[in-house]
């Protein structure tokens, strides 16, 4: 496990933006790199806490599954679900080619 580092590189910023599907200009890479470095530097204070014997909290509520009967219930009509789509065809969302 690598130690957290505040020396986030420009390449890492580009990589993270790509993972998050965020277009980013070369100027923004530098701006966000410096800002994120500064934020991460403050976040490193997390390591001050001794958590060696502490379980993680993934959710504020006591863990429980909430089930309902397996029965058909009314749902949003397809037309209402599609009404905000920038492009559609029949009852489908229309997207650009996934491969060129």
């Amino acid at each position: 496990m690598p130690e957290p580092t505040s020396e986030l590189s420009s390449r890492e910023v580009e990589h993270v933006a790509r993972l998050a599907r965020l277009g980013i200009t070369p100027d923004e890479v530098l701006k966000y790199r410096d800002q994120l470095r500064n934020i991460l530097h403050h976040i490193e204070a997390l390591n001050r806490a001794d958590t060696s014997k502490v379980p993680a909290t993934a959710h504020p509520l006591e863990e429980r599954n909430v089930m309902r009967e397996d029965r058909r219930e009314p749902c949003l009509p397809a037309d209402a679900a599609l009404r905000n789509a920038p492009s559609r065809e029949d009852s489908y969302f229309k997207v650009k080619a996934i491969q060129e």
Binding site: L8, I39, I43, L46, A49, T51, P86
Partner: protein, 490 residues
């Protein structure tokens, strides 16, 4: 005194007695929006026609004395993160410009069932990410107490609307302080319920393990009335609690005599303005005079709450905001050659700087190689924060402190420094991570700007938080102070 100056409780009585109509009342508030709206910029959308239609329906209900409830005919503003069927809902983001939800949030449906009147959608930081409202994708909001000041955030529009007379009450949402901090900075009452107390169905998500919807009102009675209307289990939100909702008004006046109230020493943070600290110390003394016993307590992990929050919330946001891809709704960039390029361009052009910053921070914290060091560590720290509260609540009934370490700051003062902006939430964030409830109540002015006292109570003890806040309010006049924008019209 004009109608828009009054509280829900007063107006309810007047409506019931047929002294006024809901249409008159709604018109009074719409006129005030017309008069000062271009100065506060509190609304992104004013739904005048809908409001008047609802007001007419409420008057019909009042006339026939059919199912009259505390909010029947009362004009309320909704933060733009709440979906209202067929009404544009953008979460303050350009990526959702023009989006009209096909369904309403559960809280919206509950208010409709009460017969409330919807004035419109209030401005907020984009996707509720911010502490000053300057991250709105549309325009910043101005504080009615000083137009060169921020109203706080992210529910800054809701706060400014209530504080300027542009709404009788409003709903906000609170992920790290977004109801309480703007309430403090605009001199109103803001309540963050316990996670699970209010359904999140139809709330545009920011950080799903922290988000809660809550009331923003002129006084504590109104806070109790509005919470009463929206609280309770909802089968459409599996994280909403089946615990019964108590009658909040029933215990409101029971006072603090014999109560043990803790003052976390860590909450007097470095950088707290001396005038704010003085107001808080005075407020604590006043509650002591009301018969509470005050003792200092320690929440030893308070200093790591902020860093834990700035991992957990962005991590959840990076996942929640993946849905904005330009395919199903919202903005779609033009000129992309293929699908992935369309995603990249849509998100580049549609999201603002703070949202991008948090998406990247969250994606980084969750990415391979960093997950254990950041995200897992933050979740363990969350356990420590929860345990801090549990331990404190074995000794005391509730906790007292400031809501914000400062009064409202000038617009632009912190926009270039994300870390300085994040520090605004240093005393509000622990309540979200610790799954407790908290209320901010006006406790004075410092240099003419409002200060808020925060009362933190154990999970699902909103009744207790409200009762303590009410005891304070009943013994003071602070909540009666009106912003210059509201007072000028009197």
């Amino acid at each position: 005194m004009k109608l828009f100056h009054r509280t829900i409780r007063d107006l309810h009585q007047m409506l019931r007695d047929r002294e006024i109509s809901s249409v008159e009342l709604t018109q009074s508030v719409l006129d005030q929006i017309q008069a000062v709206g271009d100065r506060t910029k509190a609304y992104l959308l004013v739904t005048k026609e809908l409001a008047l239609r609802q007001a007419h329906a409420a008057d019909e209900r009042l006339r026939s004395k059919r199912d009259v409830r505390p909010l029947t005919g009362i004009p309320i503003a909704l933060k733009d993160v709440l979906c209202v069927k067929e009404v544009a809902s953008t979460a303050g983001s350009k990526i959702l410009k023009g989006f009209t939800p096909p369904y309403s949030a559960t809280v919206v449906e509950r208010l409709e069932a009460e017969g409330a009147v919807f004035l419109g959608k209030t401005n907020c930081d984009e996707f509720a990410m911010g502490s000053s409202n300057e991250n709105s994708g549309y325009w910043p909001v101005h504080n009615p107490w000083g137009l060169d000041r921020v109203p706080g955030g992210s529910s800054g529009g809701s706060a400014a609307a209530v504080a300027s007379g542009e709404a009788i009450a409003a709903l906000g949402s609170d992920t790290g302080g977004s109801i309480r901090q703007p309430a403090a900075l605009t001199g109103i009452v803001g309540l963050k319920p316990t996670y699970g107390r209010v359904s999140r169905y139809g709330l545009i998500a920011f950080a799903s393990s922290l988000d809660q919807i809550g009331p923003m009102t002129r006084d504590v009675v109104d806070s109790a009335l509005l919470l009463q209307a929206i609280a309770g289990h909802d089968p459409r939100d599996s994280t909403s609690s089946p615990k019964p909702v108590p009658d909040y008004l029933a215990t409101l006046g029971d006072g603090v005599k014999g109560m043990r109230l803790g003052v976390p020493k860590e909450y007097f943070v470095a950088g707290m303005e001396p005038a704010v600290e003085q107001s808080i110390r005075d407020a604590i003394r006043l509650l002591e005079q009301q018969g509470a016993s005050i003792e200092e307590v320690s929440l030893p992990h308070s200093d790591v709450a902020l860093p834990a929050y700035y991992i957990i919330a962005p991590a959840e946001a990076s996942s929640n905001l993946a849905r904005y891809d330009g395919v199903r709704y919202g903005y779609q960039a033009e000129g992309a050659r293929n699908l992935i390029e369309e995603y990249m361009l849509t998100r580049q052009q549609g999201f603002g700087a703070e949202v991008k910053r948090r998406i990247m921070l969250g994606t980084y914290a969750l990415s391979s190689g960093y997950y254990d060091a950041y995200y897992l560590q933050a979740q363990k720290v969350r356990t420590l924060i929860i345990d801090d509260f549990k331990r404190a609540f074995t000794k005391v009934d509730a906790l007292l402190g400031a809501t914000s370490p400062t009064v409202a700051f000038p617009l632009g003062a912190k926009t270039q420094d994300p870390v300085a902006m994040y520090l605004n939430d240093i005393i509000t964030i622990p309540a979200n991570l610790g799954n407790v409830c908290a209320i901010s109540v006006p406790c004075g002015l410092a240099d003419g700007l409002p200060v808020g006292l925060q009362v933190i109570a154990p999970g699902f003890r909103e009744d207790l938080a409200l009762r303590i806040a009410f005891a304070f309010e009943a013994a003071t006049e602070f909540h009666k102070a009106q912003s210059p924008l509201m007072g000028a019209a009197a």
